[in-house]
């Protein structure tokens, strides 16, 4: 809670400084893809998508939920779930604490119940600002509990992945979260539940090789990097450069691993349509 007020105070101070002309809202930042300089306000009005080339900047979990859910329908689940340090890994608890301070997140996933165009569903969103959205015990547990909650309440499950894979700092316990989440999703689906997997930049490693690839419906944001091994590891292994666009969403669509690519501004529309096509969360 303290953090919330600190962040709010910082924002108010920023607005005040802007009013007094000390800083300008039109501070420009370059697009990592095309390099075009775009004012911060334009990034913001355009949902953090580059107005010139359509590059989708990674965004935080709460921001994404606010973009997708009907206003006032957000209700967070498992808010208190926090990470563990099973290897006593040097510097890990301090790192977690600093990230919590910085992002306001306890770990890399946020779970919630909410509505899209009046259709209720369970959502999990990974946040790449928190250790690359990597999956340790808390993230795995949150995904599994979200699937169980959706099953109990006969709701659909929507997961937005954004992850570098399994979290190294929690060692083998992170690896086991792949089995745990895949098993929980499998069970949820076998009981008739609809699972929509939405891949965002980047989705790799143990997250790709578990729950993120198991959607009844597979969607992605444009340009997202999606794969098991990272491009650098592949290039080192095979000793050659990878072609342009390799492992990007468009490439996966061509190779049969996605149903559709959904631009950021279209998520509400597409999810609303899919949820309405599956009344009772897909159960007959």
């Amino acid at each position: 809670m303290n953090r919330f007020f600190t962040q709010r105070r910082d924002r108010l101070l920023t607005y005040q400084a802007m009013r007094e002309g000390k800083i300008t809202a039109a501070r420009r930042s370059p697009c990592p893809s095309c390099g075009a300089e775009t004012p911060a306000t334009d990034w913001s009005h355009n949902l953090q998508v580059c107005p010139k080339c359509g590059y989708h900047r990674p965004i935080g979990a709460y921001y994404r939920l606010s973009m997708i859910l009907d206003p006032g329908s957000f209700q967070e689940l498992e808010e208190k779930l926090s990470p563990s340090d099973p290897l006593d890994f040097p510097g890990y608890p301090e790192k977690l604490e600093a990230l919590e301070e910085e992002t306001g997140l306890r770990d890399a996933a946020v779970a919630a119940v909410g509505k899209v165009q009046d259709h209720k569903a369970v959502f999990v969103v990974l946040d790449s600002r928190f250790l690359m959205g990597s999956m340790g015990t808390a993230v795995g547990e949150k995904v599994a509990r979200a699937a169980e909650y959706a099953e109990r309440h006969k709701l659909s499950l929507v997961i937005f992945a954004a992850s570098g894979g399994a979290r190294m700092q929690e060692g083998i316990f992170s690896l086991m979260q792949m089995a745990k989440t895949a098993a929980a999703i499998q069970r949820f689906q076998s009981k008739g539940g609809l699972y929509i997997s939405c891949l965002t930049h980047p989705t790799t490693g143990g997250v790709t090789a578990s729950f993120a690839s198991l959607g009844d419906i597979m969607l992605s944001e444009p340009g997202a990097l999606i794969g098991f091994a990272g491009p650098r590891v592949i290039e080192q292994t095979i000793g050659e450069k990878l072609p342009e666009g390799f492992q990007r969403a468009e490439y996966l669509l061509d190779h049969g691993f996605l149903d559709q690519i959904v631009p950021r501004s279209q998520w509400r529309h597409v999810l609303g349509q899919l949820l309405s096509l599956h009344e009772k969360g897909g159960r007959s």
């Binding site: 498992e78 099973p86 086991m176 089995a179 993120a212 690839s213 999606i226």
Partner: protein, 274 residues
């Protein structure tokens, strides 16, 4: 008991003189009938599997194969499967379930292959489907990590009712070299990584990740294959007999619960939402 440090165990676990899946099949099973191919595009030599008899009863055996000489190594891609290998494994497992055969897997891989074609054909999806399928099988599944249990490529054959490890085998989220390279940007610090990763059979038994550790002959499994075979044979017999008492849905439920609980006790008490 072992006197090896974790770093030394990684070397022992990778020793090419250790028995591999083919050796275990030859020694412990009869009537082996090899099954090949994923029925989609390719046969992947790094996954070896088929039907055989274990003390007279039909079972399905699947394992990672590394090969014993350069020619074999190349054929088996040094034990690093592509998606075709994992899809072949799924095919064999579904068939085992259909015919009510127990499944025994031998895990020994540096990891799934990080190659261009592997990505093109959905390495991540193939592993994910393996995990999902194994979690729901209604036949007994026993996995034995015999050498290197490397990452998701190993786990894809190890979602079992009982996961056993040979005494000097290792099992980890990534190779110690990869771990050091990701966390410290320096793969030469792999020795240090071994020390913190808790990758030995003994550490994993304590952490509840594996359910049994099988004693190796002095020095390691490579020094006395026969002794290793006797130990593994006895362990498989014992575990199968225990699992035989459970019905199909109970087997799936026990396996599900075991993996569902992994890491749970570590989490600071976070109340579950109703």
């Amino acid at each position: 008991m072992s006197v090896y440090t974790p770093e030394e165990k990684v070397k022992v676990a990778r020793n090419p003189g250790r028995p591999g899946v083919v050796d275990f099949v030859n020694a412990l099973f009869t009537d082996f009938f090899e099954q090949r191919g994923d029925r989609q595009c390719r046969e992947d030599g790094s996954i070896y599997g088929g039907i055989a008899r274990f003390h007279g009863r039909p079972v399905t055996v699947i394992g990672h194969r590394k090969g014993k000489n350069l020619e074999e190594n190349l054929h088996c891609n040094f034990g690093m499967p592509g998606p075709e290998g994992y899809r072949k494994a799924q095919r064999l497992m579904k068939q085992a379930e259909k015919f009510g055969r127990p499944i025994i897997t031998f895990v020994d891989t540096p990891g799934a292959y990080p190659g261009k074609e592997a990505e093109e054909r959905g390495q991540g999806e193939a592993i994910a489907q393996c995990l999902a399928l194994m979690s729901s099988l209604t036949v007994p599944v026993i996995a034995i990590v015999t050498g290197e249990g490397g990452s998701g490529g190993a786990l894809a054959l190890a979602v079992a009712n009982r996961v056993l490890m040979l005494e000097h085998a290792v099992y980890s989220v990534l190779s110690p070299e990869g771990f050091a390279s990701i966390l410290w940007k320096d793969s030469s610090r792999s020795g240090e990584a071994c020390a913190v990763m808790k990758l030995t059979a003994q550490d994993l038994r304590r952490g509840g990740i594996v359910q049994g550790v099988l004693r190796e002959p002095d020095g390691g499994a490579h020094t006395d294959w026969e002794a290793t075979f006797r130990t593994v044979d006895a362990a498989l017999k014992k575990e199968l007999a225990a699992l035989d008492k459970m019905k199909g849905p109970a087997l799936a439920q026990q396996r599900y619960q075991m993996f569902r609980a992994m890491g749970q006790s570590l989490l600071p008490a976070g109340k579950e939402d109703a």
